[in-house]
């Protein structure tokens, strides 16, 4: 009976894994199949010379460069806001918070992690309206407010990954630095965080993935169909996920839909590049720490 149950478990697990693998393969396959023909030379820069576009000498009107630049700027700004706050909160929860306060804060971040992004987007919109009333004509939907809202959205992933990573450090390693005379802050900085670097990088990768693909938040807080490369934090901007959303609902001909798939392929490629880079950095950081 036990043997049959073990066999059934293995069979079910293998089938589930195969099914998931096939679904991912199918998903990526469809994106590549539909998007690949759209990867024409002019897809990113249109008629503008790439160097002129990259140096911001000329605007790109018929390519995806502004949306790519907007997405990169948005993710960079989001992570700049979220990573320090997430690290600090995760450290606080793992190393300093105790008892009921810790349980309450942990529960709060778990609830936040499950918050639908449209709700966060609405909160961002409400903040925009308040700021617009306070500073009429100067602040409206913009890159900064989108980044703030997205940072709020990804914060629970960062906090919980840092907290869980720190809490899983073996006790003897945790006690090593204090046994040598280190204080708590030195122990966290010199031992615990470097020891958890791969797990923390994993949390950051998750957060980057969440921030780069989100559409609900940005469509309510600053992303538009046509704005060019964002020139300031208070400017509106274009973003690849919003472009894909917009094109899939508004396309006029099959060629335009194909551009949407090509944009999805680019977004996928950007995600892969960022994930690989983050993993490489984490591995390099954890295995090659110089004296």
């Amino acid at each position: 009976m036990r043997k049959a149950l073990a066999g059934l478990t293995i069979a079910f697990s293998s089938a589930a894994t195969l099914l998931l693998f096939a679904a991912v393969l199918l998903f990526v396959g469809v994106i590549v199949f539909r998007g690949w023909p759209g990867l024409a030379p002019g897809l990113i820069f249109g008629d503008t010379r790439p160097l002129d576009a990259l140096l911001l000498r000329r605007q790109v009107f018929d390519g995806l460069f502004p949306a790519m630049a907007g997405t990169l700027a948005l993710v960079a700004l989001t992570m700049t806001l979220a990573v320090p706050a997430g690290l600090a909160t995760g450290i606080y929860l793992a190393e300093y918070a105790r008892g009921r306060g810790k349980a309450l804060l942990s529960l709060l971040f778990d609830i936040l992690a499950g918050l639908p992004s449209i709700v966060v987007g609405l909160a961002g919109l409400a903040l925009t309206i308040v700021l617009h009333r306070l500073f009429p004509g100067r602040i409206g939907p913009c890159l900064l407010i989108s980044a703030l809202a997205l940072a709020f959205l990804v914060l629970p992933y960062l906090v919980r990954s840092v907290q869980l990573a720190l809490e899983s450090v073996p006790r003897t390693l945790r006690l090593t630095a204090p046994a040598l005379g280190a204080d708590k802050l030195t122990t966290i900085r010199a031992v615990l965080l470097p020891a958890c670097l791969p797990e923390i990088a994993g949390g950051i990768i998750l957060a980057v993935g969440r921030a780069i693909e989100d559409t609900a938040v940005i469509m309510l807080t600053g992303a538009v169909a046509s704005a060019g490369v964002p020139r300031s934090l208070l400017a509106q901007y274009e973003a690849l996920p919003f472009y894909i959303y917009y094109i899939s609902g508004q396309y006029a001909d099959p060629e335009e839909l194909q551009r949407g798939f090509a944009a999805a392929l680019l977004l996928l490629a950007m995600c892969v590049v960022m994930l690989v880079a983050a993993q490489w950095l984490a591995r390099r950081g954890s295995l090659r720490r110089q004296p």
């Binding site: 073996p170 006790r171 090593t176 204090p178 040598l180 005379g181 280190a182 010199a190 295995l287 110089q290």
Partner: protein, 236 residues
């Protein structure tokens, strides 16, 4: 209790609990300098806890309260390790500790060795390099790692990692060395190397060794105590 001329650590009516559970009760004992004192006994009786009492590491784990006194002979004078003039960081620099599991810090070999010195405010690169070589030589590791001091310490074998941890503990030239079953995760060859090393090291400090291995204790220990029923009984 009477004190001896070559005593290094002494407890007076020491009692220690973890919450409701009394682990050590009314222990008055003195461990000799330049000797290996072995503490043995069944699992869960508080041998490792007793070690953490001597460098106040239990305060990082939680536990207590601690009653009684723990004294350390420094510059010929017995000093209370809980006295305000003995900061805990100073105490831990004079009382080194090596754990059961090898625990290299997540950094290079050289950085592992430099870490305690930097904590103690010693930044001179030449001094750090000289002390590192000396410590590695003492633990018979220098020849094996001399050409890869900048590589990650976690890439060493288990025996090498444990010897590195011992070298790191020796960097500050401690007067007492606390060893919590330091050979339990090592193979017989590495274990023999550590034992030989401890016999050399005892010439310069007091060693308190927690060990389950009776043959090891009979080979290297000068004093042997059995911890059971919350108290220490001298066996040898």
């Amino acid at each position: 209790m009477t004190t001896t001329m070559n005593g290094k650590i002494r407890t007076e009516s020491l009692s220690f609990s973890y919450g409701e559970r009394l682990l050590l009760e009314d222990i008055s004992v003195e461990f000799a300098d330049q000797a290996i004192t072995a503490i043995t006994g069944p699992s869960g009786t508080g041998k490792s806890t007793l070690l953490t009492v001597f460098n106040r590491l239990w305060e990082e784990i939680g536990g207590g309260p601690l009653h009684g006194q723990v004294l350390l002979r420094l510059e010929g004078r017995w000093q209370d390790i809980h006295a305000p003039e003995m900061p805990v960081s100073t105490l831990r620099r004079r009382v080194g500790m090596v754990f059961q599991t090898p625990n290299p810090l997540p950094m290079s070999l050289a950085a592992n060795l430099a870490f305690p010195l930097k904590l103690a405010g010693i930044d001179d690169k030449e001094e750090i390099a000289a002390r590192s070589r000396e410590a590695l030589r003492r633990v018979h590791l220098l020849a094996e790692v001399e050409d890869r001091l900048v590589s990650d310490a976690r890439l060493l074998s288990g025996g090498q990692q444990q010897r590195l941890c011992l070298a790191r503990a020796l960097m500050l030239r401690p007067e007492v060395l606390l060893l919590d079953e330091p050979t339990s995760s090592l193979d017989p060859k590495a274990c023999a190397g550590i034992e030989e090393l401890l016999l050399e090291l005892k010439e310069s400090c007091a060693i308190v060794l927690v060990s389950h291995y009776q043959d090891q204790i009979s080979r290297i220990a000068d004093q042997v105590y059995l911890l059971g029923e919350r108290t220490l009984l001298r066996q040898r």
